[in-house]
Symmetry: none
Subunit: 242 residues, 4 copies
Amino acid sequence: MTTPDQGDARTAPRTTKGTRTRARILRVAAEVFAEHGYHDASIVKITEAADVGQGTFYLYFSSKQEVFEEVVRDLNQQVRHAMFEASSAETDRIAAERAGFRAFFRFAAQNPALYRIVRQAEFVAPQMLRWHYERIAEGYVDGLRTAQARGELAPIDPEVLAWALMGIGEIVGMRWALWEDDAPGAEEDRPDGVPPLVFEATMRLIERALAPERTGARVGPADATVPTAGPASVPATQEEQP
Amino acid sequence: MTTPDQGDARTAPRTTKGTRTRARILRVAAEVFAEHGYHDASIVKITEAADVGQGTFYLYFSSKQEVFEEVVRDLNQQVRHAMFEASSAETDRIAAERAGFRAFFRFAAQNPALYRIVRQAEFVAPQMLRWHYERIAEGYVDGLRTAQARGELAPIDPEVLAWALMGIGEIVGMRWALWEDDAPGAEEDRPDGVPPLVFEATMRLIERALAPERTGARVGPADATVPTAGPASVPATQEEQP
Amino acid sequence: MTTPDQGDARTAPRTTKGTRTRARILRVAAEVFAEHGYHDASIVKITEAADVGQGTFYLYFSSKQEVFEEVVRDLNQQVRHAMFEASSAETDRIAAERAGFRAFFRFAAQNPALYRIVRQAEFVAPQMLRWHYERIAEGYVDGLRTAQARGELAPIDPEVLAWALMGIGEIVGMRWALWEDDAPGAEEDRPDGVPPLVFEATMRLIERALAPERTGARVGPADATVPTAGPASVPATQEEQP
Amino acid sequence: MTTPDQGDARTAPRTTKGTRTRARILRVAAEVFAEHGYHDASIVKITEAADVGQGTFYLYFSSKQEVFEEVVRDLNQQVRHAMFEASSAETDRIAAERAGFRAFFRFAAQNPALYRIVRQAEFVAPQMLRWHYERIAEGYVDGLRTAQARGELAPIDPEVLAWALMGIGEIVGMRWALWEDDAPGAEEDRPDGVPPLVFEATMRLIERALAPERTGARVGPADATVPTAGPASVPATQEEQP
DNA sequence: AATGAATGAGAGTTCATTCAT
DNA sequence: TATGAATGAACTCTCATTCAT
């Protein structure tokens, strides 16, 4: 699945000044959406924070919804980049998982906007919500499939595996990276984004789930492949949107 | 954690007719919130759908926000009830998990409002969002702890375990119970709420993660308990809100 | 041609108070449209003049355009009523024409809004503009046809005749009833809406045009009937909209 | 009445290129006004259609209103030119009328903008509306007066006569030249701008109205001259605006 | 208990116009 | 000569809430 249509986007800025203004509005919009939520993030709030006139907003974005979608695209790109960077440096699967999860938790801890914004897509731009998750899953599935081929991974359908792991990251991150912001242990104490014990427990759980059959046993066709309705199993074209 | 404050709730209805009216508004409100989202679910839409005057709404609820919170409470109660009913009938932990997940997926498939409404709580009533998840986790943690005491479960911190499992259910349910609505296999083909292969793959993953150490070994204090910042570890008082 | 669709009109008021409020808004809207023109007649201006809140406007009209169309319908009904009343009292055709024109000019002199509003329909509600003229023409054609059958009228296609006469009334009225408002001779001096000499000249012109052939002569097929593309030749159902 | 003030017109272009740019904007503006109406014809629409920057517009016109007025002046000049050309070639009055009406209808059929733009002047530039009609009437009155002096015309006040004839042309043209655009008979079938039967009927009506008293009789001062409040009776200075 | 009329602040969006380049 | 970035007042319309009946 590629980036959804961008609709009636205004023409791109033609001068350097224009480019900077557009970028400033986009950045500020993400902050305002994260702080107030989509509906209470008025154009006035955004333009005031960006220190431009209201009309200037419409020079670069055709609507509030459009800027929201671009913000989601942006975040998606960032989080995927962070995870990809981290995990691709590792060689064995388990190490890659640790690195990937750590990267995700850290990103979540440092960008609370991730949760606060993506969640709102449900009603604001439903297709974006789905696109966001499927985009992350895509890249994941590939890695899992490769590891399975090498026998490094339990023979569980990689599609389900990818989504399940994403679910773990999502909720654990919400609970201990997002909500725990106000917690005692400050950021410097959490090199993994979440408290060390939580990180370790999470990883142990994942390692157990992913570990290939220890006793040679467990042969056979494992399980059939899950049929998917969407384009989720398309090979990931990581980083195509720089 | 107990039910959050209910604010300036209107006086309870005194007549049978009033009770019915209130119930009708509540039921309809859930539908309207699920269909349009909180912000686009106007009081007019709700009262028209409930076939009462606008003023009548304020006879029973003090604000739009209040009725939303009550809807969330209601859904939370329902989903916990469904899962509790199903899993408490089982004796061993793994069977209980299967039953619990199945119940959750089925509930999700039949009540899309669960996702569509709870997600919105993020900005509408943030404390409700947290309360909802913690409430579900609570009951879970108890069961896990007991199972661990009996050696039925791997010695992973039950708090983390509970949230991780919740995350799996959440995302897999979203992907295959909620989104797959438009999928080929109709409801009667999915006794588990999600396609059979997905259910089996999910359960296999969970079983592997939860299975106690096979090699007798693995003694000792396992891992320390994760410190929690919230009231999440309070023993569950299931069903206190009838 | 019947009244064009009324679109998404709000539900009619259900109480006496509501009925009065709606009527007040409608009356005031006509004044404001006449004074400022459609585009400069803001909802704020209308509601302030009607002494109601802005929201109240939308209780009874679904948009500015809708209230405009209703105003046009109203004016059309009034002017047709005035002309019909006056001319139907007369027996011979020429007398009826005098009475009809006099009624029209007087109406125009006393309701400058007629011109100022109808003209704007061109871009605001094009179908209303056409409907307005066709509606007036309709009634006219019938009367002419009857008079022709009785030999009271020159055998000119009544459809063309009707529109041509309407054109005369329109422009002469604009020139001497509308624009001459600021003229020396005040209203009491113009029992015909326009200055006496103008009225007489206009009528002499019309009488000459309509008079049947004086010399018995003039035989033959007169002229063929003009083909019309619209429903303009449908018999008038005068006054169906009281 | 001479051309109304032209306000704060920008300095005339000094280069050939500038002259062309200005002309292009003017031409395009007429099209855009005709298509969208004054209020919906934004400067952006005009400048985009003319393929110039927004700022360029203000190099040649000081405001939207100003360009509108110039467009009206232009149209007025064109329509008068067309009518003058046609009728001045004829010698007797009736032939001149036929030629003038034919020219007008043809112009209207080929320049729908005539109606669509002039009508809007009512609120945009009221003095222009009056000026437009008076300008056309002027030339007319002269011709009529001359014809009357020669006994070719019924002794009806020429001022009233001129406006009445203009009204006939206006409405018949609107009905059968403008609206009938979508009609069966295509343009090549209407050498007179309107369907032949309509043209003949209209002309017969006019001939009857204008024909001088057949019985030599008709003595006396005919009718007095209508007093006019405006400058409408000023002799026409045809074509002073090249 | 029930209603619908009334409100007005505030939302998103447009656009004629200015100005630095 | 030509441009496009920038503006902000003003627009239409919505909606949670109040209140008299």
